[in-house]
Subunit: 258 residues, 2 copies
């Protein structure tokens, strides 16, 4: 639930309430819901500055999410108020870095996220030089005042040769663009681990790189490596028939209370 | 996004915005998201009057959703503002009827819903006489001023003997009570039909009766009858190993524009 959009120093700030159907078996907000909120905040903040999806579409461009990394000390519980701040850290010719901080009701930071976006041409699907839009004004929205004290998304490599799970993309997976939506992949990845794992431990860091779109009816195979000594899991989703990599992700768990 | 809770004449009214990740391939809000919003509104309205889940839990009671029926002329599109009104129509000894109307940004009704709730004892799981709580004050909140011009949830009977689909309940399906959450069943049922069906037609009426809880790891078989002459589908979800019926639902489709 977002009820205000405050902007100061190029930082967008949005308030939320953790809804009952958005929490998991432990009563904590799920990472797919957090991802949903982060991407909505990105959209709202960009739109306020003339760089939203609708603005880009007028020029036959669109934003494409390339990478997302989220790291939490704790997550909001059911009915908790929380807020998300977001700002643009850097603009390169083909990518822009947008960061987030997540705050509890007292305003204390409980997590951070980093995202990387490309702007593509809707017809050619090729990347577009970001600074050509609005005469380079996107640089006016860079925020230099905030730190984002988590690592940038890194490289994920999966060695597994047999999938641990396979599914077919369904109606509920598909967004308005006809693709499996970014947040659904996060759910499918979290679902690879049993409920007990999510009850006894928590995901401290989740990162995902989006490589290729997938569509309704695509059979998607999920490959997973476990790094037992680091309590981490690396996941790759590939299209079954073409072998194309759709996305790669990494989950790092910690025991509750750490 | 809900930003205000107006109550007048025992009717709760809540405002929302249709978020990008909440719409389907046609850009319309999904019925599972609508269901989520309806149930949140029910919770908020009941809580304002001392009959929320938290209030009931103090007495070792809780609300259990028994039936939900939703019927729409159209659904909100991405970024549309919409609102939901909710009111209690009737209170019986073991059940209460709560209705909803859904309105577009102009305030015109675009859909209605009816829900039936039971109050149960958390320890025995048995129904509780609703009028014994708060000395019968629940009757003070009945609204006699609004009509809900859709049929009450009806009886669904499925004759199919072989499942059309089977799935195992996963982490993302499970709510804070450890059950598959009410809204997830709606998604799984909508997912039985191909994308083309949802693109070319729309669900005019969706009703669901919740019979038995299911849990993480339960293998759930989905049985479906098609009533071709009525463009309707009746679905039953049963636990694979015990045959227990978990829920029954009916979807009535119409061509777009009707």
């Amino acid at each position: 639930m977002e009820c205000c959009d405050l902007t100061k120093n190029n930082i967008g700030s949005y308030k939320f309430l953790a809804e009952p159907f958005h929490v998991d078996c432990t009563g904590r907000l799920t990472l797919s819901i957090v991802g949903n909120h982060l991407l909505n905040c990105a959209g709202m903040h960009a739109a306020k500055r003339g760089f939203g999806i609708t603005d880009l579409n007028e020029h036959h461009y669109t934003w494409v999410l390339s990478r997302l990394a989220m790291e939490f000390e704790c997550l909001p519980m059911q009915y908790d108020e929380f807020s998300i701040d977001t700002w643009v850290e850097a603009v390169y010719s083909l990518f822009t870095d947008r960061n987030f901080s997540i705050h509890n009701a007292k305003g204390e930071a409980i997590g951070y996220a980093r995202s990387v976006w490309a702007m593509i041409d809707l017809d050619s699907r090729r990347p577009v030089n970001l600074v050509t839009m609005h005469e380079g004004h996107i640089n006016d929205y860079i925020c230099t005042e905030r730190e984002c004290p988590i690592e940038k998304p890194g490289r994920v490599k999966v060695m597994a040769t047999e999938p641990v799970y396979s599914f077919s993309a369904k109606y509920s997976d598909i967004d308005i663009n006809g693709h499996v939506n970014s947040v659904r992949y996060i759910e499918h990845i979290l679902d690879l681990l049993p409920l007990e794992k999510h009850k006894e431990e928590r995901v401290k860091r989740f990162e995902i790189a989006y490589i290729t779109e997938s569509y309704f009816g695509d059979q998607l195979d999920m490959y997973m490596d476990e790094e037992a000594d680091r309590n981490a899991y690396q996941v790759e989703i590939r299209k079954h028939f073409t072998g194309e990599v759709v996305c790669r992700a990494k989950m790092v768990f910690v025991k509750k209370g750490t």
